[in-house]
Amino acid sequence: MQTEIIIAGFGGQGVLFAGQLLAYTALDNDLHVTWFPSYGPEMRGGTAHCTVIVSDEEIGSPIVRNPRAAVVMNLPSLDKYEPLVREGGVLVVNSSLVDRNPDRKDLSAIMIPANEVGEEIGDKRLANLVMVGALLQRLPVLTVEAVGQSLRKHIPEHRRNLLEANIEALKRGHALAAGEAVSA
């Protein structure tokens, strides 16, 4: 069983880090994983995305045309990846920066005001992990608890002060996605 996830947004929104965190968690849980970034000459402000593939067997191609899930942090990413998600797949949209609903009806789509949720916890830069929490509610390829443990394990010493806020962001995203699923 192989699961492909694309995380996309502006450079600086933490999409590469969010993907790396999923990859570390997969490693810690003895799964095969590849993390493949978009890489270019731009730094902040350009577009960025990464493809994370998690599998219980050896992974061939590190890129895919039709991922099982897309996490989109801004409108250009929604426009680009909504049509590509595999039928019946998962689409997590950052409604803080996206002013339209997804068009497709065959996806498990969810709007998460990730920037606002991040700000409530203390920093809108937590939006990426709010989104990851929501993703894992819809696509339980890894658990939020496992991601939290891996973050605790791999976070560098000089960032340890941010650990609890990030774990809170994961939990809030997960809870928001669960709540919407109940009301829908």
Partner: protein, 357 residues
Amino acid sequence: MAKELLKGNIAFAEAAIRAGCEAYFGYPITPQTEALEHMSKRMPELGRVFLQAESEVAAINMVYGAASAGVRVMTSSSSPGVSLMMEGLSYIVGSEVPVVLVDIMRGGPGLGNIAPSQGDYNQIVKGGGHGDYRPIVLAPATVQELIDLTVEAFDLAEKYRYIVVVLADGSMGQIMEPAELPPMKPVRKPEERPAWALTGAKGRDPNVITSIYIDPAVEEEFNLKLKAKQERIEANEVRYKEIALEEAEIAIVAFGTAGRVAQSAVKAAREEGIRVGLLRPISLYPYPYHRVRELASKVKAMLVVEMNGGQMVEDVRLAVEGRVPVHFYGRMGGVVPLPEEVLDEIRKVHSGLAVPA
């Protein structure tokens, strides 16, 4: 050692350090720069040499000098930078000193772009610099293989006093995967340098490291020696991996990242009932001609997939000698083919086989 999540560029740099690399000379170029960055931090920490040269031309000549002194040395770069190194590589072969080069290829020709490409197959595998030689070329397809082949490259370079090129594309440099690094090997002590090295000649006759042989008869003699060395390499160092080739009607041949993409396509095609398998050459020189020729007598067609306009396909055709049709699918300019595209090609080749009796 436990598995770690490692980025390709950092993985091969650290692997080289653990293989006892004593000196690294280089110049930054995307998509390989993380390797240089890692070296710039780690080598001084360990009391070894890191030097950012003023250009790739200077870097390869520093490598040539260190290798002549019997030091375990390497450089790494990407396509345009490697082009600049070609003169030095030829001199290194002509002087029979061991050197490791990692080439993380990007889109070309010219300045091109920084995206993954296999467009330099001909340049690297067929020689590159002037004169009659072909370097040992190893092509990894995973971060683990990139680590293992980098370590092995140092041993092969010293075994044959030759150049070994680890040839990968930009995606291999940028990807992160779980992989295991080897244990740290101590660097060679000064008294352990090879007998041929330039070490000061105290109490012994001077050694000479040169690539100049003015007399054509003497140069021919050297060339014959080089040829004999290459024949030993061809006899002993062929490496490849096979996937699902049992009872295959179609054999795909693809290396590096194209090989991985093809592997996904093979899996999907097998699920559709198409009997297709994959031969992934790991040594590009020496090329697994013998195995390709054997396969040509077993399968009905071959499909070569590359991230270029069709370079390795010439070697496959040389081995197949017209026994079966050899099809080609390639993407150029830094575009990585998707498994779905390769699957479409497999279906086309397969439907061409189904000629009713």
